[in-house]
């Protein structure tokens, strides 16, 4: 556990060294959120609420969904795994006294925590001051949202690891990254909430684990569901976490048998 925390801390500190990069990322995220809010302003023009969702709620969805609950990091994990395999660094990773997926999780968690603190929070504050930021529907909804946030980040990382580990067989992490990017763009509800999806597609998207990345946490934050439903779905989300973790363990153990280290 101390090794895990040390890796989280090292990754956090590494991110903190690149200050100009951090400033650019804040500007970039502000632009991205501005685009999302502009889209919702444009489509809501002259409408009060659509499917019971107001423009104010959609601004919150765009703001928090595009920062704290973004699925963008997932593609970075796939890319990292691909690079580790392509460069042969996986050999030295196997020699370390900690499992590679666990190290990857710790490093990504450090990066994610840094992003939340120094990119997401400033962007939420700035855009919240400009466009207004609705608070969570109630205190219990707020507490549940924190639980959903943890489930969201773990599902993103485990999904990305699972996809990335397939690089051991297909050797083309770049393509896997694009496949995942396309999948998550729609099914996480990152840009468009699933409540606006056509019937059949909405049912499928709600059932898949990707909807716990952005859609379900935001639905809880905005109070779209009662507390019983929210707790029930948080438990389902934890079930998905367990299933994905098991899948990562199985795929990793098989992937280890694929590694052949040539000479030294």
């Amino acid at each position: 556990m101390s090794a895990f925390l040390a890796l989280v801390s090292a990754s956090f500190r590494r991110e903190a060294h690149h200050r100009s990069q951090m400033m650019m990322r804040i500007v970039g995220t502000l632009i991205e959120i501005l685009a999302r809010i502009s889209i919702w302003h444009a489509v809501y023009a002259g409408r009060g609420a659509v499917d019971g969702i107001s423009i104010g709620q959609m601004i919150v969805y765009a703001l928090i969904g595009g920062t704290l609950l973004s699925s963008w990091d997932a593609t970075m994990i796939v890319r990292d795994i691909g690079t580790t395999i392509r460069t042969g660094a996986i050999g030295s990773s196997l020699l370390r006294p900690a499992s590679y997926p666990m190290m990857l999780m710790a490093e990504q968690l450090g990066t994610r925590l840094f992003d939340w603190l120094f990119i997401s929070v400033p962007v939420i504050v700035i855009m919240g001051l400009i466009y207004g930021l609705q608070p969570p529907a109630s205190l219990p909804h707020c507490l549940l949202f924190i639980g959903y946030l943890a489930v969201s980040v773990v599902i993103v990382m485990l999904t990305a690891m699972l996809v990335g580990l397939f690089s051991f067989w297909v050797f083309d992490a770049h393509s896997l990254e694009w496949f995942m990017r396309g999948l998550l763009a729609v099914l996480s509800g990152g840009l468009v909430p699933i409540w606006f999806f056509p019937g059949g597609l909405a049912e499928v998207a709600r059932a898949l684990p990707f909807s716990w990345i952005t859609y379900h946490p935001m639905a809880v934050y905005l109070g779209q569901h009662d507390l019983f439903w929210s707790v029930q779905h948080l438990l389902i989300g934890l079930g998905w976490v367990a299933a994905l973790a098991l899948a990562v363990v199985v795929v990793w153990s098989r992937a280890c048998r694929q590694v052949v280290v040539q000479g030294g």
């Binding site: 889209i39 083309d172 496949f179 999948l183 729609v186 468009v192």
Partner: protein, 266 residues
């Protein structure tokens, strides 16, 4: 001049032949990238099926817009993105010093020797959307509108190549440019939507200092007969001129940075 052109063509042929050695991987890359873009376009389609329009643009019009944007981008990026995205590593690793002593322009060498045919997915998706959308948007075809379509696409490709060149040239002076590519792509994502939905300051930025509004918004608006804020009747000419002007500006900026290049150290 003739020898240089034949050398550049030879470099492209070499690169294409190398990439074609792994055909299955190439087809997977095309499919994957097409799928990645289709995911985002599906989200936009969902918005349009639920809300009917974005800032007055219907789905067929948006499909034409997205197809134009994707195709123009792919045509410019296949010559520049992958080659110049790693400019800071090229500079810091000392590889750029070696390029400077070769008897060929370093930019031309980098761009043509790294010609990337992995944009097949983008091109097929872009063409597919344009071919699907064109019969549905009621464009009255004439010589000027045909010129607008093809000239606008070339201009869009020029803008892409110019912007990527400008960002990569920063690495010659700053030795770091990768994070600037992140910023470029944030603005690039803005240009995937009609500029008219953004605040006036962003509309102006996309039509002036960051000319990504000319990648699709201005030419497609002209084709559809939609008014373009700030440009008005000047829009068709501006759309065709933006690409070549961006190329001139990028070439000047590249030379400016090259004059200040002092090596990667080490």
């Amino acid at each position: 001049m003739r020898e240089t052109l034949s050398l550049l063509f030879y470099l492209v042929r070499l690169r294409v032949r190398t990439r074609l050695e792994f055909r299955a991987s190439l087809v997977i890359a095309w499919t994957a990238q097409g799928f990645g873009y289709a995911g985002v376009f599906t989200s936009i389609w969902i918005i349009l099926t639920r809300f009917e329009n974005i800032g007055g643009w219907s789905w067929p019009q948006m499909a034409l817009f997205l197809g134009f944007h994707t195709l123009g981008y792919a045509l410019g990026a296949c010559f520049t993105l992958v080659q110049l995205r790693g400019m800071e590593e090229i500079v810091r690793g000392g590889e750029f010093d070696m390029l400077l002593v070769r008897p060929i322009n370093p930019w031309a060498y980098l761009v043509f020797s790294g010609f990337n045919i992995e944009y097949g997915g983008h091109i097929l998706l872009g063409l597919g959307l344009i071919v699907w959308a064109l019969p549905q948007v009621g464009i009255v075809w004439s010589l000027p509108s045909a010129l607008m379509l093809f000239g606008g696409l070339i201009s869009s490709a020029f803008i892409t190549a110019s912007c990527i060149t400008v960002v990569s040239a920063c690495a010659l002076v700053l030795q770091r440019a990768r994070y600037l590519f992140g910023l470029y792509f944030d603005f690039w994502e803005l240009s995937r939507y009609p500029a008219s939905i953004f605040a006036p300051v962003f509309q102006l930025a996309l039509l002036t200092v960051i000319p990504l509004g000319y990648m699709a918004y201005v030419p497609v608006s002209v084709l559809l007969g939609r008014p373009v804020p700030y440009l008005g009747a000047f829009a068709p000419f501006a759309s065709l001129a933006a690409g070549p002007l961006a190329v001139l500006a990028a070439a000047a900026f590249w030379r400016f940075c090259l004059r200040r290049y002092q090596g990667g150290g080490g």
